[in-house]
Amino acid sequence: MDASTSVETHQDPHAHAAEHEHHELGFWRKYIFSTDHKVIGIQYGITGLLFLLLGFSLMMLMRWQLAYPGQALPVIGKWLPHIFGAGTMPDGKMTPDFYNSLGAMHGTIMIFLGVVPLAFAAFGNFVVPLQIGAPDMTFPKVNMASYWALFVGGSIMLTSFFVPGGAAKSGWTSYVPLAAFSDAGPGHNPVFNGQTLWLIGFIFLITSSLLGAVNFITTIIQLRAKGLTWMRLPFFVWSQFVTAFLLLLAFPPLEAAIIMQLMDRVAHTSFFLPAGLVVNGAPVSISGGGSPLLWQHLFWFLGHPEVYVLILPAFGIVAEILANNSRKPLWGYKSLVFSVLVIGFLSFIVWAHHMWMTGMGTAVSAFFQTTTLLISIPSVIILSAFFISLWGGSIRFTVPMLFATAFLPMFGIGGLTGIPLAFNSADLYLHDTYYVIAHFHYIVAPGTIFGLFAGVYYWFPKATGRKMNDFWGKVHFWPTLICMNVIFLPMFLQGMAGMHRRWYDGGQGWNVSNEHTIWGLTGFQWNAPISWAAWIMGLAQIPFIINFFWSIKHGEKVNDNPWEATTLEWTAPSPPPHGNFVHTPVAYRGPYEYSLPGRERDYTMQNEPVEPAERTRRKPPAELVPA
């Protein structure tokens, strides 16, 4: 396209000269307070992976309590109280408050400190500028500020475990009025308590995401290489573009809600508190006049787009890897792009399907039910296009491809089991059961996280110049896939049997989880195999961790394009230097030109000019042209 021929004009000679002075950056500026998008991407990536591990560890602790309620946790149960405080696990037995803290923080950490920094910020930062042929992000300093805002927010969240009373314990959704009164009163600091720190930490996390989103969108609009038109963008760039818009527009309402809840807790306002509240048997002195539903609306106005923030980057990663490893152009590129745009739009008008239990009235319910079902259409288009992309391909089952192909059925299960929840009549029964947990974990755990693992294995050679070990990648993949399913499939059954998601005793004390058997085990008895699968899955991550760090120094050395891929990031050296490309890239063709007929190689990179012969070859054969 000629439209994108662009030359910098009006360059001030002085500014030019100043920028061209090369001086070596010290360690701190190069690796810690760096403005290079690749270093920031890696910082985000490592932070995100560490938080994923932490969030998963919290869950592994909870799984003990669910499987063996009231029993002392062997071995580590003795020293956990020394870390989290004496009141959390006396004699290795978990207290209900501590269980609630773990649950609330598991959700918060996994979503906002694990998956978002990894899927959006890490991959977006590292890959997007390379894929669009840009030297860096448009606002490198803002980019650095965005990482450090996340760092501060994450540190505050971690600190909240160690304040008197422990971390937030009102669920990751922090529903009011519960959240307004928890972690308050005697023994709690008015500001440095779990729930208040959760709110303050969140403000930093939201700031981080907003800065990132502004930067990403501007970068994609402004810094595309010459010739890289919108319809030549790799699908991953499109998915990051839509994700950035979701973060940009959905997070601020939650920020508003967080500010109001902070006011409720610190300045004793009543944004979310109705008049006449009685807490612990005593009426509370508040003005009232607030509405708990207001919090839910504002929370889910973020909460639902957030689901797509979690899944869209994974779609993007999987799309790149599927095309690359099936050696075929991605099937239905345009419909994929339009689907992802439609998802982005619709995700803003489905939020109240999280609130069927609030009695919104039939008209409102009908609206949200309709939009919720509508959004499944573009999602199914995307998934179908991915499956069709595999058809007739000469598939290379590399480690990233294993994760990417596993993503497809896992996301499929997660998506399809969501449909009953979209109908409010069915949801009234399934609401807040393990069914819901199984549904959204199929989307984000074997769905998104598999996408992320695939991305780590896929772009690792670009970041380091070395490949991660193939064998240990497979040792990581197979147990993880099996355990994921052993963990989450039975939860559908537990949920349909009526097990509630917030039972501290795993359902031991409740009839519904004990009177029916599912394949010979009662709902409660299923907890033990699930928990064992979770712990085994924890062990299965060890090969990944070792492989990851070992390969940085000792992995097999590879060339700049080890996967024989087509997109622009593979034209840069591995690892790319500051400024990324040796020659400023120019794009001449679409992103997935695999197996082009008449070529020696089965891949044609985006920066390879179109030859005159190719133009004629591309015309359809004469017998197919209607007379």
């Binding site: 439209a3 994108s4 021929t5 662009s6 030359v7 910098e8 004009t9 009006h10 360059q11 001030d12 002085h14 500014a15 030019h16 920028e19 061209h20 030297p135 860096d136 992000m137 448009t138 606002f139 490198p140 803002v142 907003l210 989103a213 502004v214 930067n215 969108i217 501007t218 609009i221 402004q222 810094l223 940009l248 527009l249 959905a250 997070f251 601020p252 309402p253 920020e255 508003a256 809600a257 500010i259 109001m260 006011m263 300045a267 004793h268 306002t269 009543s270 944004f271 008049a275 002195s285 003005s287 009232g288 006049g289 607030g290 509405s291 207001l294 504002l298 106005f301 500051h578 400024g579």
Partner: protein, 285 residues
């Protein structure tokens, strides 16, 4: 390494980077304040009769502050235009005017308007004790006229002991049956010297006019507070672009400084726009 389009425009988009950046940022700000204003609407519609106060804010002062912000919006554009015409001296003065307007606005808000509220006292009377304070509330006449009942007595807290509050009444409670008191006043009426004694056991809840007083003051202080932080942010950025360091940037590349002023000017207009919503919602309606 150099990032393209920081100063000149990209031909196919016709924009330089920061201009897109600031519009995106403003989009997110719209969502932030939009959510707060939605909350205001939600709370106001839901408010029980008599609990949403009217006419408690100082309208002339608010009007003055509105004018100051509008003037500053004009001066910031003139400052930008002066830079475009490469007249740094003129720019410097217009920028100083803009900064001064921002500082005056904040001073009025923080040193006058807010403290005035903090000194004011309000006591919500229990429903079964309302009759006892009829002479301060005038509810019989209001019921005849079909108006919402008054349930709060306001004024300056004179003194209090374990059993009662002594309040120097606001005119509305000093003379409740006067038809003049049925609607808010443009010019605020001073607190009278009529003292009322209110027994604490008749009081549902009594506070100063703090965020905790009511949903109205909660949203007033939250929204104006957040808006004030935005004004402060804008002022700090303007000061940075007004200090001698800006002269050096101007000499190196005047267009760069002009772009910076344009971007922060857009932000400043947005901050003014928010105030244009705040003023009628809290002062007039």
């Amino acid at each position: 390494m150099e990032i393209p389009y920081t100063i000149s425009t990209r031909p196919d988009t016709g924009l330089w980077n920061a201009k897109i950046g600031i519009w995106l940022f403003l989009a997110s700000e719209v969502m932030l304040f939009g959510a707060l204003f939605s909350a205001y609407i939600f709370l106001r519609i839901d408010a029980a009769p008599g609990t949403w106060p009217h006419g408690l804010l100082n309208v002339p002062v608010g009007t003055g502050n509105t004018a100051i912000l509008i003037v500053s919006s004009v001066t910031v554009v003139l400052a930008w235009a002066a830079l475009k015409m490469r007249r740094y001296r003129v720019y410097w003065w217009y920028m100083l005017a803009t900064i001064s307007c921002g500082v005056i606005f904040l001073t009025v808000k923080l040193a006058y308007e807010w403290p005035q509220k903090f000194e004011h006292f309000g006591a919500y009377i229990k429903p079964d004790a309302l009759g006892k304070y009829e002479k301060y509330l005038g509810n019989e006449r209001r019921a005849e006229k079909g108006m919402e009942p008054r349930i709060e007595i306001t004024g300056h807290l004179h003194s209090q002991n374990a059993k009662e509050y002594e309040v120097a009444l606001d005119p509305v409670n000093a003379d409740p049956d006067n038809p003049v008191m049925d609607r808010p006043h443009f010019l605020p009426l001073p607190v009278t010297d009529k003292i009322a004694t209110i027994e604490k056991e008749d009081v549902e809840r009594a506070t100063m006019f703090l965020p905790t007083h009511s949903a109205y003051f909660a949203s007033y202080f939250t929204i104006t507070g957040l808006h004030g932080l935005h004004v402060l942010g804008g002022v700090l950025v303007f000061i940075y672009m007004w200090l001698p360091v800006s002269k050096r940037l101007y000499q190196r590349n005047p267009e760069h400084l002009a772009n910076r002023v344009e971007v922060s000017g857009l932000f400043w207009h947005f901050v003014d726009l928010i105030w244009i919503f705040v003023f009628p919602l809290f002062y007039l309606l």
